[in-house]
Protein backbone atom coordinates (compact mmCIF):
# COMPACT_ATOMS: atom_id res chain seq x y z
CA UNK A 1 0.00 0.00 0.00
CA UNK A 2 1.31 3.46 -0.92
CA UNK A 3 1.14 6.30 1.61
CA UNK A 4 -1.31 8.21 -0.58
CA UNK A 5 -3.61 5.18 -0.53
CA UNK A 6 -3.21 5.00 3.26
CA UNK A 7 -4.10 8.70 3.63
CA UNK A 8 -7.06 8.28 1.28
CA UNK A 9 -8.22 5.30 3.33
CA UNK A 10 -8.04 7.35 6.56
CA UNK A 11 -10.00 10.19 4.93
CA UNK A 12 -12.60 7.75 3.65
CA UNK A 13 -12.89 6.05 7.06
CA UNK A 14 -13.30 9.47 8.71
CA UNK A 15 -16.05 10.46 6.27
CA UNK A 16 -17.85 7.13 6.77
CA UNK A 17 -17.62 7.59 10.55
CA UNK A 18 -18.98 11.13 10.14
CA UNK A 19 -21.92 9.79 8.10
CA UNK A 20 -22.85 7.12 10.69
CA UNK A 21 -22.44 9.59 13.57
CA UNK A 22 -24.70 12.13 11.83
CA UNK A 23 -27.25 9.40 11.04
CA UNK A 24 -27.21 8.20 14.65
CA UNK A 25 -27.58 11.76 15.99
CA UNK A 26 -30.47 12.57 13.65
CA UNK A 27 -32.20 9.26 14.40
CA UNK A 28 -31.79 10.01 18.11
CA UNK A 29 -33.59 13.33 17.58
CA UNK A 30 -36.28 11.52 15.57
CA UNK A 31 -36.77 8.84 18.25
CA UNK A 32 -36.87 11.52 20.97
CA UNK A 33 -39.18 14.08 19.39
CA UNK A 34 -41.08 11.89 16.89
CA UNK A 35 -43.56 10.44 19.41
CA UNK A 36 -44.44 13.92 20.64
CA UNK A 37 -44.44 16.03 17.47
CA UNK A 38 -44.74 13.69 14.45
CA UNK A 39 -46.60 10.44 15.12
CA UNK A 40 -48.45 11.27 18.35
CA UNK A 41 -47.28 8.39 20.57
CA UNK A 42 -47.94 5.63 18.03
CA UNK A 43 -46.22 2.70 19.76
CA UNK A 44 -45.18 0.85 16.58
CA UNK A 45 -43.57 3.95 15.08
CA UNK A 46 -41.89 4.73 18.41
CA UNK A 47 -40.37 1.24 18.57
CA UNK A 48 -39.30 1.52 14.92
CA UNK A 49 -37.68 4.88 15.68
CA UNK A 50 -35.74 3.42 18.59
CA UNK A 51 -34.74 0.34 16.55
CA UNK A 52 -33.54 2.61 13.73
CA UNK A 53 -31.49 4.62 16.24
CA UNK A 54 -29.94 1.45 17.67
CA UNK A 55 -29.14 0.18 14.15
CA UNK A 56 -27.40 3.45 13.24
CA UNK A 57 -25.59 3.24 16.60
CA UNK A 58 -24.22 -0.20 15.71
CA UNK A 59 -23.13 1.17 12.32
CA UNK A 60 -21.38 4.05 14.08
CA UNK A 61 -19.53 1.66 16.43
CA UNK A 62 -18.35 -0.51 13.52
CA UNK A 63 -17.29 2.59 11.56
CA UNK A 64 -15.36 3.82 14.60
CA UNK A 65 -13.54 0.49 14.94
CA UNK A 66 -12.63 0.59 11.22
CA UNK A 67 -11.46 4.20 11.62
CA UNK A 68 -9.26 3.37 14.62
CA UNK A 69 -7.73 0.34 12.89
CA UNK A 70 -6.83 2.50 9.90
CA UNK A 71 -4.79 4.97 11.96
CA UNK A 72 -1.05 4.65 12.41
CA UNK A 73 0.40 3.49 15.73
CA UNK A 74 0.99 6.93 17.26
CA UNK A 75 -2.50 8.10 16.30
CA UNK A 76 -3.92 4.92 17.85
CA UNK A 77 -1.94 5.56 21.04
CA UNK A 78 -3.31 9.11 21.27
CA UNK A 79 -6.84 7.79 20.76
CA UNK A 80 -6.34 5.02 23.33
CA UNK A 81 -5.05 7.41 26.00
CA UNK A 82 -7.90 9.88 25.36
CA UNK A 83 -10.52 7.11 25.47
CA UNK A 84 -8.97 5.69 28.65
CA UNK A 85 -9.25 9.03 30.42
CA UNK A 86 -12.78 9.60 29.06
CA UNK A 87 -13.88 6.15 30.24
CA UNK A 88 -12.37 6.71 33.69
CA UNK A 89 -13.95 10.13 34.06
CA UNK A 90 -17.23 8.68 32.78
CA UNK A 91 -17.30 5.88 35.36
CA UNK A 92 -16.02 7.88 38.34
CA UNK A 93 -17.87 11.07 37.42
CA UNK A 94 -21.03 9.17 36.51
CA UNK A 95 -21.16 7.24 39.78
CA UNK A 96 -20.39 10.36 41.83
CA UNK A 97 -23.13 12.20 39.97
CA UNK A 98 -25.51 9.29 40.60
CA UNK A 99 -24.62 9.35 44.31
CA UNK A 100 -25.35 13.07 44.45
CA UNK A 101 -28.80 12.25 43.08
CA UNK A 102 -29.60 9.22 45.27
CA UNK A 103 -28.44 11.00 48.44
CA UNK A 104 -30.51 14.05 47.44
CA UNK A 105 -27.51 16.38 47.55
CA UNK A 106 -28.68 17.79 44.21
CA UNK A 107 -32.29 18.78 43.84
CA UNK A 108 -33.00 17.47 40.33
CA UNK A 109 -32.63 14.00 38.79
CA UNK A 110 -29.25 12.91 37.39
CA UNK A 111 -29.48 13.21 33.59
CA UNK A 112 -27.50 10.81 31.41
CA UNK A 113 -27.06 13.60 28.85
CA UNK A 114 -24.78 15.44 31.31
CA UNK A 115 -22.63 12.34 31.57
CA UNK A 116 -22.42 12.00 27.79
CA UNK A 117 -21.34 15.64 27.52
CA UNK A 118 -18.65 15.16 30.21
CA UNK A 119 -17.31 12.02 28.47
CA UNK A 120 -17.28 13.76 25.06
CA UNK A 121 -15.52 16.86 26.42
CA UNK A 122 -12.97 14.74 28.33
CA UNK A 123 -12.27 12.75 25.16
CA UNK A 124 -11.76 15.96 23.13
CA UNK A 125 -9.43 17.41 25.77
CA UNK A 126 -7.56 14.08 25.86
CA UNK A 127 -7.07 14.15 22.10
CA UNK A 128 -5.86 17.75 22.26
CA UNK A 129 -3.38 16.93 25.06
CA UNK A 130 -2.16 13.85 23.16
CA UNK A 131 -1.56 15.83 19.99
CA UNK A 132 0.40 18.43 21.98
CA UNK A 133 2.33 15.79 23.94
CA UNK A 134 3.61 13.97 20.85
CA UNK A 135 4.08 17.05 18.68
Amino acid sequence: MKNQDWKTKINTNTKVLGFWTAAWTLSMALATFGPRYIWEDNLVLTILGIALNAAFGIGMILANIRHLRGLDELQQKIQLEAMGVALGVGIVGGLSYSLLDTTNVISGDAEISFLVIIIALTYLVGIFIGLKKYK
Binding site: N3, Q4, D72, E73, L74, K133, K135
Partner: protein, 64 residues
Protein backbone atom coordinates in the same frame (compact mmCIF):
# COMPACT_ATOMS: atom_id res chain seq x y z
CA UNK B 1 14.68 5.62 23.16
CA UNK B 2 17.45 7.43 21.32
CA UNK B 3 17.76 7.03 17.58
CA UNK B 4 19.76 8.20 14.55
CA UNK B 5 16.73 8.72 12.35
CA UNK B 6 17.30 12.41 11.76
CA UNK B 7 20.93 11.89 10.72
CA UNK B 8 20.14 8.92 8.48
CA UNK B 9 17.29 10.82 6.88
CA UNK B 10 19.57 13.78 6.21
CA UNK B 11 22.20 11.49 4.66
CA UNK B 12 19.58 10.21 2.23
CA UNK B 13 18.29 13.74 1.67
CA UNK B 14 14.82 12.77 2.85
CA UNK B 15 12.24 14.92 4.57
CA UNK B 16 10.11 13.64 7.43
CA UNK B 17 7.23 13.45 4.99
CA UNK B 18 9.33 11.35 2.57
CA UNK B 19 10.21 8.90 5.31
CA UNK B 20 6.59 8.81 6.50
CA UNK B 21 5.53 8.01 2.92
CA UNK B 22 7.96 5.13 2.73
CA UNK B 23 6.92 3.46 5.97
CA UNK B 24 3.20 4.31 5.82
CA UNK B 25 2.79 6.49 8.87
CA UNK B 26 2.01 10.17 9.39
CA UNK B 27 4.73 12.82 9.37
CA UNK B 28 3.83 13.59 13.00
CA UNK B 29 4.72 10.02 13.94
CA UNK B 30 8.18 10.31 12.35
CA UNK B 31 8.68 13.63 14.14
CA UNK B 32 7.68 12.11 17.51
CA UNK B 33 10.06 9.15 16.97
CA UNK B 34 12.96 11.46 16.05
CA UNK B 35 12.39 13.54 19.17
CA UNK B 36 12.30 10.40 21.32
CA UNK B 37 8.74 11.09 22.40
CA UNK B 38 7.38 7.92 20.87
CA UNK B 39 8.96 4.47 20.52
CA UNK B 40 8.00 2.69 17.29
CA UNK B 41 6.58 -0.82 17.29
CA UNK B 42 8.84 -3.67 16.18
CA UNK B 43 7.19 -3.92 12.72
CA UNK B 44 7.71 -0.20 12.15
CA UNK B 45 11.31 -0.39 13.40
CA UNK B 46 11.92 -3.25 10.93
CA UNK B 47 10.41 -1.21 8.09
CA UNK B 48 12.73 1.69 8.94
CA UNK B 49 15.77 -0.57 9.26
CA UNK B 50 15.04 -2.17 5.86
CA UNK B 51 14.71 1.25 4.29
CA UNK B 52 18.10 2.40 5.59
CA UNK B 53 19.66 -1.07 5.08
CA UNK B 54 20.83 -1.14 8.70
CA UNK B 55 20.01 -3.30 11.70
CA UNK B 56 17.54 -2.02 14.27
CA UNK B 57 20.34 -1.69 16.82
CA UNK B 58 22.28 0.55 14.44
CA UNK B 59 19.35 2.97 14.32
CA UNK B 60 17.74 2.70 17.75
CA UNK B 61 19.53 2.74 21.07
CA UNK B 62 17.87 1.58 24.26
CA UNK B 63 18.27 4.00 27.18
CA UNK B 64 18.92 1.71 30.14
Amino acid sequence: MKNRLKVLRAEMNMTQADLANEVLVSRQTINAIEKGKFDPSLPLAFKISRLFKLSIEEIFEDEV
